[in-house]
Symmetry: C2
Subunit: 166 residues, 2 copies
DNA sequence: TCAACCAGTTGCATTTTGAAACCAGAGACT
DNA sequence: AGTCTCTGGTTTCAAAATGCAACTGGTTGA
């Protein structure tokens, strides 16, 4: 059934799931952008993913156990994609990617403010964010603090400042 | 010159450099396996990289500023690949990948003992390891502690135990 | 009834990957 | 001097992945 693995090294096995140009982009958009529907992921994608690629990635990530697909009660055709617990545990990895990118790549200010806050907040902020994701995606009780809201507010503040400066 | 970037998001920009199935494998082998020559990377690769792919990845990583190529004084034809400071700062990212893989993928005990030690050691161990890498790759003064040696010793101990158990 | 919206699929050209054979220069050994 | 091995790769060609654009079949609300 499964293809054989190249090796049993943890870094390699992680790369076998996430080592391509789109999988983590999709997870990032679901996680930080709270995009839960196919069209949201397709049309509001900063990077412009193609619909066939998106469909293939969603399928692969479901097979890998990182996403689940559910029905949206508001619309018979609408599917809701949710993160699983393993996907939620990618938060520290994504934060490290953001940290490294912010330090060594030509990032923009508004798109890196979230990464900055998550880096500065450290593991306790990551935990709060993961608790919130468990509420949004796994039906856990809602925590008091909304890290997602804080990140979004910070993004909008920077975006407005930069717009005004032009 | 450069292709345009898909977006200025730090996660995306990191993926544009490292988001494929081989780049981080090459960096892992240089970093944790101390493989500095083409043939070492080729023949001692756990995953069996092809020579054309290895050559292409080394070239790309040099262009991205993550590797440098130097001469080996012992042999006119021999090239030594070294990590740059940005590549050394990938240590926390690779540790997170190891941590996630160890928790969610079917890793083997001997190939994940290093990841376990690095996870348990926390940021202070990562800093010691990065200091050692700066000595090995950038000519910095050698630190007292060799994390690389500790990791290798732990690997060999586990490998010997598992061999004896069979 | 009809336009907009929904999650994708299809066809096709281009690019990337992968396996294997091959190469020319440099050292080592006899 | 001749030859064997090691060096960092390149070449060739098939197969797979990617990317773009058009398209599909059904749903929903006005």
């Amino acid at each position: 059934m499964d293809d054989a693995h190249r090796s049993s090294c943890p870094i390699n096995l992680t790369l076998e799931v996430l080592g391509d140009r789109w999988s983590l982009i999709v997870i990032r958009d679901i996680m930080f952008g709270n995009r839960r529907h196919f069209r949201e992921l397709l049309n509001r994608s900063e990077e412009g993913i193609a619909s066939n690629i998106l469909a293939a990635r969603l399928k692969r990530l479901m097979e890998a156990g990182l996403l689940t697909k559910g029905d949206d009660p508001s619309h018979q055709q609408k599917a809701i994609y949710s993160l699983t617990e393993p996907a939620i545990q990618l938060v520290p990895l994504l934060v490290q990617m953001g940290t490294w990118g912010r330090r060594h790549r030509p990032v923009s200010e508004e798109l890196s403010i979230r990464a900055q806050l998550l880096e500065e907040g450290g593991p306790s902020l990551w935990d709060a964010f993961m608790a919130e994701l468990r509420a949004l995606h796994l039906g856990a009780p809602a925590p008091k603090r909304s890290v997602l809201y804080e990140l979004q507010a910070a993004y909008e503040k920077v975006a407005a400042q930069r717009k005004a400066a032009r």
